[in-house]
């Protein structure tokens, strides 16, 4: 089975080689995949790109999206663009596209029939502006996952929970066993992620879409949401002692059993793989906190700034095609622990957590990621609210809800 895949990959690259005199061009690609699992995944892209004759210049920027995006943006607006750059699905690069700084990929998209191949199509819609396509979606990361360390629960003598209520109930037992019930990193986006996963699970996906999408302030102020804020307050007390900074440090606490669980997107799975843990045995994954099984179509897409250098532009086109080619999609997403964007690719080698994701994706109950629904400015404000809420116990659930309602009221 594996053999068949390899030959296919080889054939594809061979074909590319023949097609036309290929100038080998150096292309700088910036991204913020600096943790162990992520770096392994991006190496797949680099390998495939180098195989196609070009040269991948790695522009990794540490410190997660929050640190990396500003650097990428100021380089593009500063007139010194890179070859290609990563952004999340959604509106982060909206203004850059409007300002005409991003390359129009519509012709490549038509040639590769991206409209049919990319599934769900909402990913491609986030890349489209006035009918033209400006980015290549490469993976689907859903944030709606709860990762639990089986070892931690054994140590606490509590069965591995199947949903949020059981998990919250097990918290006291975990604390007695000296285990931090919930690991949350200090970066603002991590606390917001925890909140909206709780929101989608407890209040349901359409409540999430109404609030983040249509900015429905009354719903935000409603009783339904009050329950969500209660759960958030509970999560806060469960994660009080986890004072780590980066998300992969929090994942590391789960892997080593210091913490019982972490609410994090499926990119955390890369860390579990690098640590050699097996889904189902060492760790358990609960999509939608085991309450509302849903997949969020968050994830990453690559944009290609307009370059005046002919060779580099050609290399850009090759990279764009290559990123969506089936083989590279498989190799990349396997390492990354995310779901491929191509509907026609099946991942037998995926572990059972990925398979759960694929099934939910196939059933089609998906929601858009906050980046796709809200502007960076409003989202940062919400991030600040929740990072403050999680670190300052004097803020009650009601205050937080009130301030959340104001934010939703004038978000754009």
């Amino acid at each position: 089975m594996r053999y068949r895949l390899l030959t296919a990959a080889f054939a594809a690259t061979a074909a590319l080689n023949i097609a036309g005199p290929l100038q080998a061009a150096e292309l700088e690609v910036t991204h913020w995949w600096t943790s162990g699992g992520e770096a392994a995944a991006v190496a797949e892209f680099a390998k495939a790109f180098d195989a196609s004759g070009h040269k991948w210049i790695d522009g990794a920027i540490a410190g997660s999206g929050g640190t990396a995006r500003p650097i990428m943006i100021s380089r593009i607006t500063g007139g010194d663009p890179m070859g290609a750059t990563q952004f999340n699905h959604g509106r982060q690069a909206e203004e850059l596209v409007e300002a005409g700084l991003m390359r129009d990929l519509t012709d490549i998209a038509e040639e590769g029939k991206w409209r049919e191949v990319v599934h769900p199509s909402s990913l491609l819609d986030s890349c489209t502006l006035d009918g033209k396509i400006y980015c290549v979606p490469v993976n689907i990361h859903s944030q709606q996952w709860l990762w639990l360390s089986n070892a931690a629960f054994e140590k606490a003598g509590v069965p591995v929970p199947t949903n949020w209520e059981e998990y919250a109930a097990a918290a006291p037992a975990l604390e007695e066993a000296g285990i931090i019930p919930l690991a949350v990193g200090q970066q603002p986006w991590q606390t917001t992620l925890a909140f909206q996963v709780l929101l989608t699970a407890i209040a349901g996906p359409d409540a999430y879409t109404k609030i983040f999408g249509e900015k429905d302030a009354d719903l935000a102020a409603g009783e339904e949401l009050a329950k969500v804020f209660e759960a958030a307050a509970q999560a806060r007390s469960m994660s009080a002692k986890s004072n780590v900074q980066d998300w992969n440090q929090a994942t590391n606490m789960v892997i080593t059993g210091q913490a019982a669980g972490q609410i994090m997107g499926d990119w955390a799975q890369g860390e579990f793989q690098v640590a050699g843990q097996v889904a189902g045995e060492d760790y358990t994954c609960l999509p939608g906190l085991g309450v509302n099984e849903v997949i969020m179509t968050g994830g990453d897409a690559f944009y290609f700034p307009v370059l005046d250098d002919e060779e580099k532009s050609a290399a850009q086109a090759d990279l764009a095609k290559l990123m969506l080619s089936p083989e590279v999609q498989v190799a990349f997403n396997l390492k990354k622990g995310s779901l491929p964007v191509r509907g026609d690719v099946d991942l037998e080698a995926a572990n059972d957590c990925m398979k759960k994701g694929l099934e939910i994706l196939a059933q089609g109950n998906i929601i858009q990621s906050p980046d796709q629904l809200m502007s960076a400015d409003s989202l940062t404000q919400i991030n600040d609210l929740f990072v403050e809420f999680f670190n300052n116990t004097s803020i009650t659930a009601e205050d937080a809800q009130k301030r959340f309602v104001d934010l939703v009221a004038n978000a754009d």
């Binding site: 770096a39 522009g59 990794a60 410190g63 380089r75 007139g79 010194d80 980066d246 992969n248």
Partner: protein, 311 residues
């Protein structure tokens, strides 16, 4: 003349007879209360100041197991320079693992031209302001001095635009220009005050001999201003080497100065935090300004005080 009883000038009693009562210098106890308080406080404060440096050096020479077990104040059992090697050549930010070395050479490539350029411009400014008072010169100078106090953030973005227009944004030259701009106020003030303190006759005599603006500058003013040049170099080298904000905003990853590289290395964590490597990296970054500080000693104080007090 007041009626004054003038003592009969008795023959002076000489030292050979034993002088009764206290004589000679007052006996000062070495272990007096005053000395205990004085040296005691100074010693305690000195420990407070030296502690961080001690911890950094000690930890940077220990292996990770020793750090996890022992406490940070205990000296290293088996000294290893591996953390220093790793910090210099192998620490990773993201995929490229070239350690701080790239940052170091970037910092050198940024600091040297910036220091030379900013001092050249500022010394000419100071000289022009001190000796060739042209109309409006003081207006520009006052704006310049106010500029020294304006928080950088106010001018952060406008400068991004300016650099972009002249196509230097993101490269080393852009950052060099930024350092010249923000170094100019204090340095110009330093040079102006120094040149005004030089005797006026010197300048007038040269004018009488027919020397022009540049003739006087190179032949007379420059040779005499070595002390202030040294002070300016100290001020600029420490200032530019230690900068972080401009480094982050005005350059891109492969031109990052050492301070930005350090912050990235320390804050991007692969699994466990390697304190010894981080400490070695921090020491490496602080090495150059510390060496400049220890070599220049008193001059450093005078420079900073002159720059700061006058500023």
């Amino acid at each position: 003349m007041a009626d004054v009883t003038i003592p009969v000038s008795a023959p002076p009693v000489h030292a050979d007879e034993a002088l009764v009562g206290p004589s000679g210098p007052r006996p000062r106890k070495v272990i007096s209360r005053r000395n205990i308080i004085l040296y005691g406080t100074l010693f305690v404060v000195a420990v407070y100041y030296l502690l961080p440096l001690y911890v950094m050096i000690v930890t940077s020479l220990k292996g990770m197991p020793e750090i996890r077990l022992g406490n940070i104040f205990s000296p290293p059992v088996e000294i290893t320079f591996q953390p220093w090697v790793k910090a210099w050549a192998e620490a990773c930010t993201g995929l490229n693992c070239e350690g701080l070395s790239r940052g170091f050479w970037n910092s050198v490539r940024i600091t040297v031209p910036s220091v030379v350029l900013s001092i050249a411009i500022a010394s000419v400014n100071g000289y022009a302001l001190a000796n060739w008072r042209f109309k409006g010169a003081d207006v520009f100078f006052t704006i310049l001095i106010f500029g020294a106090f304006i928080p950088y953030q106010v001018m952060l973005y406008p400068i991004v635009i300016m650099l972009r227009e002249i196509g230097l944004y993101g490269g080393l030259y852009g950052l060099i220009i930024v350092h010249c701009i923000f170094g100019m106020p204090i340095l110009t003030l330093l040079f102006r005050n120094y040149f005004t303190s030089l005797p006026e006759e010197l300048f007038k005599a040269a004018r009488v001999d027919g020397a022009g603006f540049w003739g006087i500058y190179f032949k007379i003013m420059l040779p005499m201003s070595l002390p202030i040049f040294v002070v300016a170099v100290i001020l600029q080298v420490t200032g530019i080497w230690n900068d972080f904000l401009f480094g982050v905003v005005y350059t891109r990853p492969d031109y990052y100065p050492m301070t930005v590289q350090l912050n990235n290395i320390v804050n991007s964590v692969q699994g466990v935090k390697e304190y010894n490597v981080n400490m070695a990296a921090t020491l490496l970054t602080g090495l150059v300004p510390l060496i400049v500080y220890f070599i220049s000693g008193k001059l450093f104080v005078r420079g900073i005080a002159a720059g700061a007090v006058k500023g």
